[in-house]
Amino acid sequence: MASIRNRASTLAALLVLLGLTFWGAISPAVADPLDDALAGFTTDKYDDTEKAIQGVVATAAPTGKAIFEALAAGRLVFDPESKSVLIKDAAGKLTLAKTGEAAPADLASRPLKTVRANNRIRRAVEAASGAFELQDPNPRKRIDAARAVFKSRDPAALKAIETALATEKDAAAKEALQQARAAIILGKADAPEADRVAAADLVADVGDQDALAALRSLPPGSPQTVKDAADAGIASIERWLSVANAFQDVTFGVALGSVLLLAAIGLAITFGVMGVINMAHGEMVMIGAYTTFLTQRLIHSYLPAIDGASLIIAIPAAFVVAGAVGVLIERTVIRFLYGRPLETLLATWGVSLILQQAVRTMFGPTNQAVSTPEWLQGSVSLMGVSLNWNRVAIVLFALGVFFALLLLLKRTSLGLKVRAVTQNRRMAASMGIRTPWVDAMTFGLGSGVAGIAGVALSQIDNVSPNLGQSYIIDSFLVVVFGGVGNLWGTLVGAMTIGVANKLLEPWAGAVLGKIILLVAIILFIQKKPRGLFALKGRFVDA
């Protein structure tokens, strides 16, 4: 319905436009076309007002921009008797709409009426003022204006576009203008067929949703060649958009993969070294998130000047708190259970229940509000896909943590000992490495990294006592899928699972996608029981 009405008014406007240009061309001396156009504002009828707007555009009046601004703001007034149209500025001063000169005093004293505007008029004004911005000295603005015309496809703007094109020097602006012109010509039933076909190709090259809309709204009765060209354009744009969608899914998948990486990487270290699945790992993440919450609260109360940096300060704080809890658990529970991985699993599950309930008792079962600093708000657009800054930050942060850990394991003395114990615990012990100390440090490190993950997750998830539980199974699967004791395996595992999850979601739905993924991982583990990148250690499988 809307499009039909649109088209009808477009057609009417077109006729008026043609009439006006015709009139103006043959009898410049009889009447100024701008006078005619402005007269439309004084009849107090919406149809006439709309025609007047298009008339003003067609004459490219120097005061046009001011007229439209005034009309949009309800400050365009007229004198019903003399039929003069005046612009009232914000301060109430009156100028003549035709010339921009100050209004004669006698006019100002008369009872003036405001030119009324409804939504249709406002839309027309918007499109029309776009035409005037085409003459803006700033090329950036000119491009924006051309894009606006491309979107509105208002035939009234055609003349303005062509005027602008004739003088345009800037290449990018020229291209935008040509695209806008093509969009109008494409929908212009009386334009030459060959021009419209060429226009369809040009519009298709733009390749976004607006171009798709332009190609889809051909006026009825368009020639077959134009229709074919438009259909080809639609097909090519849809192809491109599906690529862009896939790209979007992949970026979302990478963001999810980074979250999984953060959650799983600490687990990969403790599991790799001690062969122990720490069921309380998720609770370390939760503790990190609560540390973030507390840090923010403390800084907000005592040092409000550095509010923006509280998230940065929370990172070492979360590492220390979660790491300390980890060492405590290792010293009091886990060290008594070495060589009994299944019992460790049960004991750490018990620890996780206690930690959850402890946090619930202290902070209550409800979600705690962790604020996002300003520098993480907003989004960035990449290849037509908009990405939230906090997701981008998590990807970068996860990779940062990953490479820091990699360096730690490859370049430090602790890392050397950790790797030695991972590969062959008995041999390492024989060489004089204090394996219990390495165990405690590794466990503290893994827990600390989980705490850091909690800082990141506090930005995208609810900080509640159950935060850890929702990540623990995914984290396990990442570690087992990637291969134990191999950080690269964890990276690949996390990214694979994250991207696969997001790619499955559009056609299988979130829950079914997750189920498919779980089943796929279960089957994968049958095939490669030691994961994607199995560590080649000198141990015998039990």
Partner: protein, 383 residues
């Protein structure tokens, strides 16, 4: 070692106690007047019946974990599948008495605009069919899963994690409305079982007695398995899997038999559980439930069968008491139970008591691996 005795002292005591419960509790509930001090109140009968169903699940879990060394963190899935099979039968028995009064479709299907009964609901109006499914569905799932997992030698914590992933995946699946199992509301509002009203006290007492008898049956079957030659090989697999394989046993087949049998027992336990609590929903698949079942076994005594049942009974009684009196402290208590049992009482209550009494005779089975002879040195770090 000579042949194990089929029934030892602990087993005889266990059977005697459960059978006595099967007779005395329904009798006291139905026959004694409510003001008699020995009268078992109405609410207690299904509650105790629930514990007995849990005890049966613990028994099944002990069979795989205690005797075969497979720590399944997904036994709740088999329990819930058995429960769903029974729940489907009970749903079909409602007939036109539902809120919407549809004679064929259960209420939730009418609500979700189903036109016909989905194919996998066919047959569930017959009790015998549901009873077969109670055993067959968990059994087939366990068989398929175990066939894949044991053949590719997925062991230890890896196996534990994928069993957990299995039950997690099933939970997500059953939460979906379009799976045709009632979505997150599950199946409830049951009316009749075999023509008897589910809510009636007589039916409840009968269900209790039946559960107790089934527990005895499950104990006898498990005991028969672990004292047979098969059971000996299974224990060998638990203590030294590689060694057993090198001797020439097809380890994966032994594991598969025990795992499948255990899943079937868990399914029956679930089927007995559902009519007594009156509802089955996807949260029964929650991984936390399966892990909780493991702690029942650990508390009672892994590898003792009797201990597993005892542990289930005690932990659940504790849970009921705590959640009534000190609800915040239940998770602390449960967590502490996990930690302290694994640290201080690796053999559980039964193991500790028999150690204390010096009752460990040759005729008894060795319990958990720590008590077994030291494993070969190379096996320790990698397991």
């Amino acid at each position: 070692m000579s042949r194990y005795r089929f029934l030892d002292t602990a087993g005889l005591i266990f059977l005697a106690v459960v059978l006595a419960m099967a007779v005395l509790i329904p009798a006291s509930n139905l026959l004694l007047p409510p003001d008699n001090p020995l009268h078992v109140p109405d609410y207690l009968v299904p509650l105790l019946g629930k514990y007995l169903a849990f005890a049966m699940l613990a028994l099944a879990l002990d069979l795989v974990w205690g005797y075969c060394g497979i720590l399944s963190l997904g036994h709740g899935a088999f329990f819930a599948l058995g429960g769903y099979a029974m729940g489907m039968y009970l749903m079909r028995q409602i007939g036109p008495r539902g809120v919407y009064g549809n004679p064929i479709l259960p209420d939730f299907m009418v609500f979700l605009n189903y036109k016909d009964l989905p194919w996998f609901w066919l047959g569930f109006d017959h009790f015998w069919f549901a009873a077969v499914m109670v055993i067959a569905v968990p059994g087939l799932l366990a068989f398929g899963f175990g066939w894949l997992a044991f053949r590719s030698r997925v062991t230890g914590v890896y196996l534990s994690i994928i069993t957990q992933a299995l039950t997690f995946a099933l939970m997500l699946a059953f939460f979906r409305n379009d799976m045709g199992f009632g979505g997150n509301n599950g199946l409830t509002d049951f009316k009749d079982i075999l023509g008897f009203p589910v809510q009636a006290q007589g039916t409840r007492a009968a269900l209790f007695a039946l559960t107790a008898l089934a527990l005895c049956g499950a104990y006898l079957i498990s005991r028969w398995v672990v004292t047979s030659k098969l059971g000996k090989v299974v224990v060998a697999v638990r203590d030294a899997e590689s060694r057993t394989r090198f001797i020439g046993y097809r380890v994966e087949n032994y594991k598969l038999v025990v795992f499948t049998l255990s899943a079937m027992l868990a399914g029956v336990a679930g089927a007995l559980y559902v009519p007594q609590v009156g509802i089955i929903n996807p949260s029964e698949f929650a991984p936390a439930n399966s892990i909780e079942a493991v702690i029942w076994v650990a508390v009672g005594g892994r590898g003792t069968l009797v201990g597993a049942a005892l542990g289930a009974f005690l932990v659940n009684a504790g849970k009921t008491w705590f959640t009534g009196v000190l609800p915040e402290f239940w998770l602390f208590a449960l967590g502490a139970l996990f930690v302290l049992t694994t640290l201080l009482m690796p053999k559980g209550i039964v193991g500790a008591v028999s150690d204390l009494l010096g009752l460990r005779r040759k005729s008894e089975l060795p319990s958990a691996p720590p008590a077994a002879p030291a494993p070969p040195p190379a096996a320790a770090p990698a397991e």
